[in-house]
Symmetry: C2
Subunit: 155 residues, 2 copies
Amino acid sequence: MLTIVDGDAAPSSLIAALDRVLELTVLLHDDMTTSLAAEGLTTSRAHLLWVLHHGRPSTQRALADALGVSARTVTGLVDGLAATGFVTRSPHPTDRRATLVQLTDHGATSVAAMARDQAGLADQLFADLPPAVFEGFVEGLDAVLERLREAIDRA
Amino acid sequence: MLTIVDGDAAPSSLIAALDRVLELTVLLHDDMTTSLAAEGLTTSRAHLLWVLHHGRPSTQRALADALGVSARTVTGLVDGLAATGFVTRSPHPTDRRATLVQLTDHGATSVAAMARDQAGLADQLFADLPPAVFEGFVEGLDAVLERLREAIDRA
DNA sequence: TATTGTTATACTCTATAACTATA
DNA sequence: TATAGTTATAGAGTATAACAATA
């Protein structure tokens, strides 16, 4: 974690807040990585399954676009997911260049488990928060997200 | 981004909140990756530089412990950072098995740039927030972090 | 001519295991 | 005997470029 607070500069509550946001991101990432590993998935492969669950059988080209990675990368991800039984490849009915990727039963079960895990995590993080605290958090979060999107757009 | 809200389950404000937290983490990660790439750094290498900046010349063993990776991984990271001029290796003064890694001027300059980037980001995210919104966000963030740490401890 | 997905190649991060040089 | 860091090896994610099959 890139914690910035040190003796080099005057401490800033803004920087301290960013540090805690970054800590949250790191902890969340580790938690999700651990959960997925228990099901035999990496984050990249899980992401592909997730896209598949929401978009139904897709060509690899469509998956590459949805995931924001190259066609070559999708080949590798699908290879791995097919070898471990999460997806299957089948020919596209009308375009003989293309391949359709679809979830197996095992893949669908894993996606359902991922959804349950996320719902459970949301519960653990938020369910017992005082409503005012939860609402304040969400309000601030939305404002921060908006500013972050603006900053990225400017860059 | 693993956005969970779909037609499969009753929409939940808790899940929606987690989705936005996850969106924030993804956008922050992409933003930082882009900034670091502009300086010729990956996140792993930047993390090592950051540890070095805060801990002064360190053995690779100490770096491996601080980063939570294997000794082999540190060898690779230091190889890359040395080849690109961010760090140098030198013999440990008293333990001839060990190697000290230290920042070059270029490495120190890069760490300073990283610190500036983070401070700038904190400004962009928080500086123009109404104080009450900022405080509500931080209060909620602290509560969420606490619950996340508890959840991880239980697991 | 353009597109889909592959092979070829390469770089990075990560790990374990075996080994060398030292403690 | 234990530790620091290396080589050897391997798997995963990522990319570009060249290529085959098909549109």
